[in-house]
């Protein structure tokens, strides 16, 4: 009897150079794409969702070719993917791995929970200070009210 060949196949193809964002909660992959404005990017972008993960059960992954993100750019995704891993790829090889960090301030991507806030009534961008990075509590720079994880809506 012939031995069955075990074929290992990547669900999402490898990239030559760029950034892999791994360990995204599966349901938040499209939110990460929105936060990073990847829809407007001209780079080749590959992504997968509902992938099996021993760590998370199910996960999402995004691979962006020829793009290396600055810290303040990528750390925004920590709001929806707090355990995401960033893998820097050069010549198909892993050059560096790091975790995202919840930033100290968040602008434009989260809506203030307070319907009477100026940011929800006039042409003013939302802006928050992160006062609790573990439980994700954001204090609005304008109305000073606290938006918590369960009331967080993304713009």
């Amino acid at each position: 009897m012939e031995k069955e060949e075990i074929r290992k196949e990547l669900k999402v193809s490898a990239i030559e150079n760029g950034t892999v964002i791994d360990h995204i909660p599966s349901e938040n992959v499209f939110q990460v794409i929105k936060i990073l404005n990847l829809k407007e990017a001209e780079n080749q972008i590959l992504f997968g969702t509902n992938l099996e993960s021993t760590k998370m059960g199910k996960k999402g992954i995004i691979k962006v070719s020829n793009k290396y993100f600055k810290a303040d750019e990528i750390n925004k995704i920590a709001l929806v993917a707090p355990n995401a891993t960033l893998i820097i790829i050069k010549d198909f090889k892993v050059s560096e791995k790091k975790k995202v960090q919840v930033p100290d301030t968040v602008e434009k991507i989260v809506k203030c929970f307070n319907p009477n806030c100026i940011t929800n009534n006039e042409d003013v961008n939302s802006k928050f200070t992160v006062i609790d990075k573990t439980d994700l509590k954001l204090r609005c720079h304008y109305c000073e009210k606290i938006t918590i994880k369960s009331t967080m809506t993304f713009l």
Partner: protein, 318 residues
């Protein structure tokens, strides 16, 4: 050889051109400086130190006390006052944005005193205006000048601000004067006594601030039990419209009404304060009690607002 001149920034001008949006925009030291200056104005309220300045008062929602208090304060110091008391007669009615209104009025004045119905509006105004903004109330958020006049009143009646027991009674959830005053008093080692219906408790963000300063607060549902414990009783109005069920309002509306007979066991130094207007939460029979301080509290507003205007405009007080 270059000569280096070291300029010592005078403490006097530290608040010059700085906006007052939230009570914590000014430090504890700056709060005390305002109170000290207000004392000078109380002794000499009419002096022409602001005669070359124009003060704009922009009230996007109704106010009698705060607006007239500011206009009186500015006028007694010789400033010219311009502005509006409701936006219906202005370009705001045509849809002009707050941004454009502020940027325009900043061209005509040296300082803008502003009351607006949206939370955070004063902070935004301070970011687009080229002149300082004094927040006279932004939605349910802050009312820092009320806080300063409340602090002035407390210090005047108690002889100090530190280590007092202060009760806040009534609507602690929506009362911006309560929020601002609690936050300011956190710099003075205050013990807070909170008396309110369950639905109108102090917000967690303010309680968090108290905890961060390692201070204590006690919660009560009944007013009588707190009276013997405190130096200041700060009363606020409970509004029917804050209750989703009108029957809940009916159950509690009389539980937070102060009557003269309730003051029998109060401390001799107790003073009763209220930001006004009052409805029924302080019974008329309290007015003749020497512990009733709420009308003098309103008068103190003129001196404190004079101090704020003088500091922000950098005018030297006589």
């Amino acid at each position: 050889m270059p000569l280096f001149f070291i300029f010592k920034v005078s403490k006097y001008y530290r608040m010059k051109n700085k906006s007052l949006v939230s009570i914590n925009d000014f430090s504890r030291e700056e709060h005390l400086r305002i109170l000290d200056l207000a004392e000078k104005f109380e002794k000499n309220p009419t002096q022409n130190i602001l005669e070359k300045y124009v003060v704009a008062t922009l009230f996007f929602e109704p106010s009698t006390r705060t607006r007239l208090s500011f206009e009186s304060a500015a006028s007694r110091l010789g400033a010219k006052v311009i502005g509006f008391s409701e936006p219906g007669s202005t370009s705001v009615k045509k849809g002009e944005s707050l941004r454009d209104t502020i940027m325009t009025v900043a061209n005509y004045s040296d300082v803008i005193v502003m009351r607006h119905p949206l939370d955070g509006s004063a902070r935004f105004a301070s970011e687009v205006s080229r002149v300082p903004i004094i927040n006279a109330g932004d939605g349910a958020n802050q009312h820092p000048t009320q806080t300063l006049l409340d602090m002035y009143s407390i210090r005047k009646t108690q002889g100090k601000l530190d280590n007092l027991n202060i009760a806040f009674v009534g609507d602690l959830k929506y009362g911006r004067t309560v929020h601002s005053l609690v936050m300011a008093l956190c710099n003075f080692n205050t013990t807070f006594h909170l008396v309110s219906p369950e639905e109108l408790k102090l917000p967690s963000s303010v309680k968090l601030h108290i905890k961060e300063k390692n201070l204590e607060y006690k919660q009560y549902s009944d007013l009588m039990s707190v009276i013997p414990e405190v130096d200041i009783l700060y009363m606020t109005r409970i509004q029917k419209e804050r209750f989703s069920d009108p029957l809940d309002y009916e159950k509690v509306k009389n539980s937070y009404v102060l009557r003269n007979s309730m003051l029998e066991k109060s401390k001799p130094n107790l003073k009763i304060m209220h930001p006004l207007p009052r409805v029924n939460e302080i019974s008329i029979d309290v007015d003749s009690n020497p512990q009733a301080y709420y009308f003098t509290q309103a008068l103190n507003g003129v001196y404190v607002r004079q101090a704020i205007l003088a500091e922000i405009l950098g005018a030297k007080v006589k």
